[in-house]
Subunit: 239 residues, 2 copies
Amino acid sequence: MNDSPHYRPLYRQVYDFLLKQIAEGGWRPGEILPSEQQLAVRLNVSQGTVRKALDTLAVDKLIERRQGKGTFVVEQTQESALFRFFRLAQPGGVRAVPTSDSDSLRTRKAKPNEAQRLRLEAGAMVIEIARTRLIDGKPTVFERIVLPKALFPNLDGRTPLPNALYALYQREYGINITTAEEELHADLANRDDARRLGVAEGSPILHIERVAIGLDGTRAEYRVSRCNTTALVYAVQLS
Amino acid sequence: MNDSPHYRPLYRQVYDFLLKQIAEGGWRPGEILPSEQQLAVRLNVSQGTVRKALDTLAVDKLIERRQGKGTFVVEQTQESALFRFFRLAQPGGVRAVPTSDSDSLRTRKAKPNEAQRLRLEAGAMVIEIARTRLIDGKPTVFERIVLPKALFPNLDGRTPLPNALYALYQREYGINITTAEEELHADLANRDDARRLGVAEGSPILHIERVAIGLDGTRAEYRVSRCNTTALVYAVQLS
DNA sequence: GAGTGGTCTAGACCACGCA
DNA sequence: GCGTGGTCTAGACCACTCT
């Protein structure tokens, strides 16, 4: 029952098994999982143990449970992904909704800091996406998105890219972004910012760096955003 | 068993009961709770039901469970509170540790925006604390903290204030800060910032507004911080 | 009514901390 | 060795959804 050096509860093993299935696409996003009873029989454990594993997966937002219907693999939709990871809002609370504009895409070698952030070897190939995002029709965020080429083959053939990239990562590449680490600081607008965002040079700019991490721990994306926060705020809930 | 219009599970009722006890100081921070068995007998439910309630309280970080020892009311310590709510760090990850300097404290009427944030009536009395916080010996953050006078009687007699205010709120006033909503934007240093933080006027400043919320939903604190993020970043994990 | 997840119980045994 | 929380099981019943 416990052949590893450290103790490993049964429900944890069930959790890992289900996680692996989802990660490898055994059940696709949006699909329904077998019922608790069926899983219990198949894995030869009690229903309560399956339940504990499923509850944990639900807390981690990988599955969704609906009473009377079943358990479903969470689908990264435009709305859900934006709500989770796009933090700009009107002061006071209402979330802002961006649209994308003017993507450009090229392939090149990773710069040292990018390689370090993405845990790549020096000089590995990356894809860089540059785009301006509009809020209420005004250019508000300019961002450079850097992806390991190895993880995203043929991405260049998919332009124009959708507004919600994480749904694309999940659907086309099986990469499920579950967490992101962001680092923010204040900066002054340089000439580039001024041109792209229509502000004066020297205006305040919120600089955001993000590393997005997949459910298996893969560092799949490094993103630098330059935001005009004259009319918006970055909203976050600490708990 | 269910006398309310909406269905309310047993473990939820147990949760609410325990929460009320903790909120009202029935068990003080750091104290041990009765064992699961004892609670089950006292409340006339099964041990499993008590367990589910306790597990939920642990997720909410109100109690801490230690195998072999018991269940304890979480104590807001200097370290834990800073780690949870103070987000400034070195780029790359190491958390910064601030010290406080030069507190000043006065009582006055709430300004309209403060009253709105704290859900107070117009013109209610508030306490304002102003202080500069040092990181590595350098003034880095200047903050104004606004508290409803009604919630914090006799606070003026407690100067100098400790660096970790939330431990004070909990210990002396029974106010348990569990969540905080923050809104950030980039700004330029004004003359005040320049003087207090030792930067040039017009330097970039990270402006942070926080509303801290107690476990019963009370809005207990409104805080505005002006940060010099030349050498630091605001680090946050999205999930 | 049949099938799903959600709640509740009772009891056995395991891992941990301490005296 | 005892008491604590942690795991696991088996079974009953409840609430919700769909047909």
